[in-house]
Each structure stands twice: as structure tokens, then as C-alpha cells.
């Protein structure tokens, strides 16, 4: 008898939860090569995945299948561009010091802003760290002010001043 769809969905959810609980997903050699070699330099040719497959000695179908699977597992967030900060729109790192008991609730308020793309806890008195992006500097400042009003906590506003590292992804041997 076939497994009912809801049970399969539950099983998938459980797998995801297990992953975020610290059971890393193991990669095979081909997957590792793919992730190590193509965090940058996706071919700008009509058939980039076929080109990658040729260089790795495999088939386009397998490359696409691996990428699709890793994307569904959450190991990769996308195959696409990473924009340089400050070039398109305005963005900043920001931090708040929130009492521990209220952290999850305040974090939810911050995450609800569509302008927020990363929102993390860090072990410090400044325990909530997030990145805000907006189409303009003016809109960015409005959003930060709105957040301060809504939560009642002042924001440490830490825009990028100078970059010393070119982000090219990072190797899996660190």
C-alpha cells in the first residue's frame, strides 16, 4: 500500500528539523566538488549546467538533479547572483540588546519586516543582529526608526564603511 501523502510530508518536515538540530547533511565527492568550485564563476553560456557537467565529467541531468535536491534540503539557498552591498539600494547591519526572555518575541517583530533578510541571535549583551536592505538610504532610516518605535529598543546602526575581503564563498575545508 502506498504511503499517504500527509505522512510523507510529515517525514520530510522531520528530516528538515533533524538537520537544523545539528545533524549535517553528508555530501558525496561530486556534490563537494560542485559546491567548492561553483560558488562563483557560473558559466555565462546558454547552457551553464551542461558546461559544468562536462568539466566535472558527468551529465547535465545529474548536475541539475543534485542542485535541485540540495536546494530542497536547504543546503543551497539558490544558484544565482550575490549582489555587492551598497551598489543596489541601501543596507546595513544592525544590532539590539534585548532581555533574554523577550528575545524570541522581539526577533519575530524584526523578522516580519520584508526589508530584513538575515536575523540572528548572538552571544553578547547585543544579542539580536540583523541586516536591513531598502531601495534608498531614506527608506532604510525610516525602517530603522520604525523598528525602534515598535520594539522600544535602540538600534546599533553599523553600516559598512570599507570591505577588506572579496566574498567568493568559502571552501568546505575550513
Amino acid at each position: 500500500m502506498a504511503t499517504p501523502a500527509p505522512l510523507i510530508k510529515q517525514a520530510i518536515k522531520r528530516t528538515r528539523r533533524a538537520n537544523s538540530d545539528g545533524h549535517p547533511i553528508a555530501l558525496n565527492d561530486l556534490e563537494k566538488r560542485l559546491l567548492n568550485e561553483y560558488q562563483k564563476g557560473l558559466p555565462l553560456s546558454p547552457t551553464p549546467f551542461a558546461d559544468i557537467a562536462r568539466r566535472l565529467g558527468t551529465s547535465e541531468a545529474l548536475v541539475l538533479k543534485i542542485l535541485d535536491r540540495l536546494q530542497r534540503l536547504g543546503v543551497i539557498s539558490r544558484v544565482g547572483p550575490v549582489f555587492k552591498p551598497k551598489q543596489v539600494g541601501a543596507s546595513t547591519l544592525a544590532a539590539m540588546a534585548v532581555p533574554e526572555a523577550l528575545l524570541a518575541a522581539v526577533a519575530d517583530q524584526i523578522s516580519a519586516y520584508p526589508e530584513v533578510n538575515h536575523n540572528y541571535e548572538r552571544e553578547d549583551s547585543y544579542n539580536l543582529w540583523f541586516v536591513v536592505t531598502a531601495p534608498s538610504q531614506q527608506r532604510l532610516e525610516q525602517v530603522l526608526a520604525e523598528m525602534e518605535r515598535q520594539t522600544g529598543y535602540p538600534i546599533l546602526y553599523l553600516p559598512l564603511q570599507k570591505q577588506f575581503h572579496i566574498d567568493l564563498g568559502f571552501p568546505l575545508w575550513c
Binding site: 562563483k40 564563476g41 549546467f49 539557498s77 539558490r78 519575530d108 530584513v116 544579542n127 564603511q161 568559502f170
Partner: protein, 158 residues
């Protein structure tokens, strides 16, 4: 680099990721009324112009067991900032290294770098070693490990 209306439509279409298909650029072009050659040409121009810093697989290292994520912040004397920033930025396992403003008196730190690893002790050991190898013993620093992730997705610009 100056972006035009067409570039913004292209950015909107690709920022969430390319379609995982044989002809992703042609497919993107179809959605916004551009031919494949133009899509490839404009992405190439944005890479050249520095609007896009890389095009490729965006890995979520956390899912691969890189759960020890340390932001190390340093209070670097202004006259040493460029030297120290360049040293740290060049190290293999430092993924980001930025100057940001001090916010005195609450926040004296002006240089931020990110180190990912699989285990906390190893990351701390790595930091100890780089402090001695790069001559940073006199520079005050603190290490902020990440805890819960409340939200994570690529930046959106629309």
C-alpha cells in the same frame, strides 16, 4: 555603473535564483521580454561593473554542519585599520571582513570579521593562532558566536 529600467527588471527576476533548467538565461529572458544574449550580456556587465560580486551556488553552510559561526569584532587604532583589515581579509577561513563605525560609548569596535567552522573549540583555536601569527595581541577584541537563526534569505532590492 549606471543601471537602467531593464536591468532592474532583470535583477528582480534573478535575485531569487536562476531556474534549474538547461537554458536558464533564455528562460529568464522569456519572462521579461529579453533575448538570451541580452540577459547574458547584462549579467556579465553587472559582474564587470561590480554590481554582482559573484554568480554561482549560494551555500547555506549551516546545513552542512558549519554551526560554529563567530563574528569577531576588533577595536583597531585608526592608523592600523587598513593593515589589520588587509591581513584578516586575506585569511582562508575568514569569509567577511568589514570596517564599520564605532558607536561610543556602547560599542568601541570598528573591524568585523566572520569565521565559520564545524566546532566552537576549533574556531576559538583558529582565532588564538591568528592573533599570534598576525601580531594582534594588543588589539582588544571579542567573539560573538551565533545562536538561533530567526530569518535567513538573500537580499531583495525591490
Amino acid at each position: 555603473m549606471v543601471l537602467n529600467e531593464q536591468d532592474y527588471r532583470l535583477i528582480a527576476e534573478i535575485q531569487g535564483g536562476l531556474p534549474l533548467s538547461s537554458h536558464p538565461y533564455a528562460e529568464i529572458g522569456q519572462r521579461i521580454g529579453l533575448d538570451e544574449e541580452t540577459v547574458i550580456g547584462r549579467i556579465d556587465a553587472m559582474l564587470e561593473g561590480g554590481v554582482i560580486k559573484r554568480l554561482g551556488i549560494v551555500v547555506r553552510h549551516h546545513e552542512l554542519g558549519y554551526t560554529a559561526n563567530a563574528m569577531v569584532v576588533w577595536d583597531v587604532p585608526d592608523e592600523r585599520l587598513d593593515e589589520v583589515g588587509a591581513k584578516l581579509g586575506a585569511l582562508d577561513c575568514i569569509t567577511l571582513c568589514y570596517q564599520r563605525p564605532r558607536r561610543l560609548p556602547d560599542w568601541p569596535y570598528n573591524l568585523f570579521c566572520m569565521i565559520h567552522g564545524r566546532e566552537r573549540d576549533k574556531v576559538l583555536g583558529y582565532i588564538d593562532r591568528l592573533i599570534s601569527s598576525e601580531g594582534l595581541a594588543e588589539i582588544p577584541h571579542k567573539v560573538l558566536f551565533s545562536g538561533r537563526r530567526f530569518k535567513q534569505r538573500g537580499a531583495r532590492y525591490q
